[in-house]
Symmetry: C2
Subunit: 523 residues, 2 copies
């Protein structure tokens, strides 16, 4: 056991976090041991806490693990599939199709947080809804096809394909796993009636828990069988109307009067079930909890089918109303959103290259932005790894991110830009990117020490800053530098750095290197 | 409330079963009312039980519902996604590809019951595994694609794509919904090692419940976050290692040391969790609970990924080992199996047409099989509904299914074959099929009464049996017959019946009509 800021951390839990190459695959990060591979009497033999990194030596096997202190103490992330952190707010988030194509973040964030989003001006092309779904996930094929047509059919197996009003419901409750995302894309809506409605099932279930806790418990504790059959299909799923996670948090609502079968239970349980069912249905039917709106051609409603109930008013079967729909899943939505957020810092970097980086020369014939892009271009041409190309591209960002600027450096104050840059980048990039950046000034001092002719190849500005930065390395510094795991990468980077000051050179642009950065972002 | 065989049945529960056209859509069978549409003070005002049918009149609204008595009293079906009714038997069910193509029932039954099935001699064609999956369900696309290749990759993001041993695990635990079926199709297995293993997670969880109930509760009550990330993906799911349904039955096992993240909880909970985790892992690792086998080219292993853990031994990365896999879902498997079982009686009918029906002439120039097929051919040519074509095809099955045979009828004993046939068929077919069958003899007696020239068109045998069957209808019988909902269908059927005795006519065969029967089977 280890105490950290008053938290008692069990040895086995600590060991389960170990990220050393013996415990986790360096390529994939996947854990390499099982819990039974650990000694049953595992204990903390020794530990050291430097305020940033915690080092633990375990008994009886002597394994040593090091951890980022803040990661060990990070609070648990909320489970974004439960009510935790959801907003019970029926406000429509509208995102224009052009904006969505440029950045899906706002739309997907609304989908995860409020349960739905309305995309506007989506081209009313046949099967376009599949493209929309594939933009953030995978289409879930069902017996209705990859795509289903919501319009009046001659001999429908499902009331959705009539002009009847459909009360608020979740779709496909007879399916397990249920499709967790639904998309409805309006192509035509010229009918009288046929308006849309949404009800937040999580909010309704939370209200039921407040107003009638016993009813809430009954519904959470009673599996209901939902069934759908047609000549080629016979689907059944038995799940509660309100699904909870093991901690009792609302996690899934299923509500569909059309396909719910009467449960089987002793008399008193049935009476309690129907009373609870009625209480929940009454909350779901409250006008205050229902958002009504009309889909117009080009609208694509995307909603969480484990949470939001959808409805429509009746419409004249002769009127033209045609939606196309498909199903997808929330796990891919959350993944897409996480990757978009992981990549968001690249926008900051792009701004840096387009803004301050494009204005600052720091004594050279090229701007800092051009200089860094030239370095990356040279790295790419040399067949360097993605990580080293990224390091070359970003090696001088410390001039812009620290408290001491590049201008200060030119005025004689070492801004330690290699360190501030590496530290700043370390929030997003792994050591294979940050450490060559950190060492690229040291590499200059190293090369000056071991290759006397090297000094002659440096630019005037670079010779000037060499002095500010400490001059050539001593023999002791050289030995220490060479022993480090990132020395050779830093030296390679340094050589591209020195060459990347040619105002005549053809270079790539930041956008060209963005996919390289995406590949090496820490995850 | 109604008492039936000692069972107290609440009024609202009874009403929830009502299948009248006001309560359930006649086309789709979907329920048309919601629970809040029913009076809050619903009660049984009156009831009648004739031993087969129960009729209930409700207060206060006077609604009348009729029910098949046996359906009201049917015991609940086991939830085939829980441990209920599962067989904890690691015996391999092997089904040859040719047999599977002819009938998927045995294979899918094993998959649902024992959690896995091994298809043999599946053609080792590229992407063939997708065809296998599409034979009984829908392929679940993931970030690994619709199909994934299990072979050594140069720079793998997942240990599956290395030659390392993989301990027993369920796949994609970081996905929610998790893929519930996995297929692994062996194309090449020339490596040293690379054998396969399966462990029944339901059986192991049930063992844990017996051996260490506290540990079982801890695992069922602790969400564990599983995580997978690569440059384009960041999937997380928080679910317990042992998922229970609201009744406490084992419903889903997730177990994957590679992607499980250490949970966050107070110290004592963490200690209890790891002890329970170790206990479960130790059970899963018992050799007695593991089935080891080697996939050979052509083998396609299909297993329930919510239940079975799969494993493989290490293999030489230079050796040729290549599997193709994909994911699908159990709900479609269960649906396919239910539809196959629904259609199984059609095999009995096919046998009847090929066997007894093809041997029995009953006084006509054609066999009974040919006679019935001719009647169906005439119905089809006349543009009759599927139900009426089916009725024409099956109208004389009562000669073969009752205690009194067609031969007895020809010997002078009325075998009431229209009634015995209709009753026999009613297990599988709806009234639109069975009632014209039931009335086709009455229709002869009716036509003889209302159309004097009709008698002259009957065959000699038919004139003979008319006498045995009661002769022409009386005026009272005529009025009663005409008032029935199936009279016109029965008369139409009767006319095809009378014409369908031509030894020279070209007719279809039973196989031609089988799809018609499939469409009209009751569901």
């Amino acid at each position: 056991m280890l105490y950290l800021d008053g938290h008692a951390l069990p040895a086995v839990w600590l060991r389960d976090h170990c990220g050393c190459p013996e415990c986790a695959d360096p390529r994939s990060g996947q854990k390499l041991f099982g819990v039974t591979d650990l000694p049953a009497d595992l204990a903390v033999a020794d530990s050291h806490d430097d305020g940033t990194t915690v080092t633990v030596t375990f008994a009886p096997d002597g394994h040593v693990s090091t951890y980022a202190r803040d990661r060990l103490l990070a609070p648990p992330a909320p489970d974004d599939r439960t009510e935790d952190g959801k907003e019970f707010d029926l406000r429509i988030t509208e995102v224009a199709w052009a904006d969505f194509q440029a950045d899906r973040t706002a739309a997907l964030d609304a989908l995860m947080l409020r349960g739905f989003v309305l995309l506007r001006d989506v081209p009313t092309a046949d099967r376009k809804v599949l493209d929309v779904a594939r933009g953030f996930g995978y289409v879930r094929e069902t017996n209705y096809g990859t795509l289903f047509e919501v319009r009046v059919e001659e001999n429908p197996h499902n009331l959705a394909f009539t002009g009847l009003a459909i009360a608020p419901h979740t779709d496909n409750p007879y399916r397990d796993p249920v499709p967790t995302v639904q998309l409805l894309h309006c192509l035509v809506n010229g009918s009288t009636g046929g308006d849309s409605g949404l009800v937040d099932g999580f909010a309704a279930a939370a209200l039921l828990r407040t107003e009638d806790p016993a009813a809430f418990s009954v519904l959470a504790g009673t599996p209901v069988t939902f069934r759908y059959a047609d000549p080629d299909t016979e689907l059944t799923a038995s799940r509660p109307l309100i699904g909870l996670d093991p901690r009792g948090r609302i996690r899934e609502v299923r509500f569909n009067n059309r396909s719910a079968r009467p449960p089987r239970a002793p008399h008193d349980e049935l009476v309690a079930f129907y009373a609870a069912y009625r209480a929940f249905a009454a909350i779901l039917a409250r006008p205050a909890g229902r958002l009504d709106f009309r889909l117009v051609p080009g609208d694509c409603l995307v909603f969480d089918n484990t949470r939001m109930l959808h409805a429509r008013t009746a419409f004249t079967e002769s009127g033209a109303r045609h939606l196309q729909g498909c199903y997808a899943d929330l796990d891919a939505v959350a993944s897409d959103l996480a990757v978009l957020r992981r990549r968001a810092p690249l926008d900051t970097l792009a701004d840096l290259f387009a803004g301050a980086g494009a204005a600052d020369y720091l004594g050279e014939a090229v701007t800092q932005a051009v200089h860094m892009i030239q370095a990356a271009t040279l790295a790419e041409a040399a067949g360097a790894s993605d990580a080293l190309i990224a390091a070359a591209l970003l090696h001088d960002v410390g001039h812009f991110t620290g408290e001491v600027s590049g201008a200060d450096l030119m005025a004689g104050t070492d801004n330690r830009h290699s360190h501030t840059g590496a530290d700043w980048l370390a929030r997003w990039f792994p050591p294979a990117v940050t450490e060559p950046v950190r060492l690229h000034v040291a590499a200059k001092r190293y090369l000056c020490a071991v290759q006397p002719e090297y000094l002659g190849r440096l630019s005037e500005a670079s010779v000037y800053t060499l002095g500010v930065q400490g001059g050539p390395m001593s023999a002791g510094e050289v030995a220490e530098f060479e022993a480090g795991p990132h020395a050779m990468a830093a030296v390679a980077l340094r050589r591209w750095d020195d060459e990347a000051k040619d105002p005549e050179a053809l270079t790539r642009d930041f956008a060209h290197f963005r996919p390289v950065l995406e590949r090496v972002l820490r995850y």
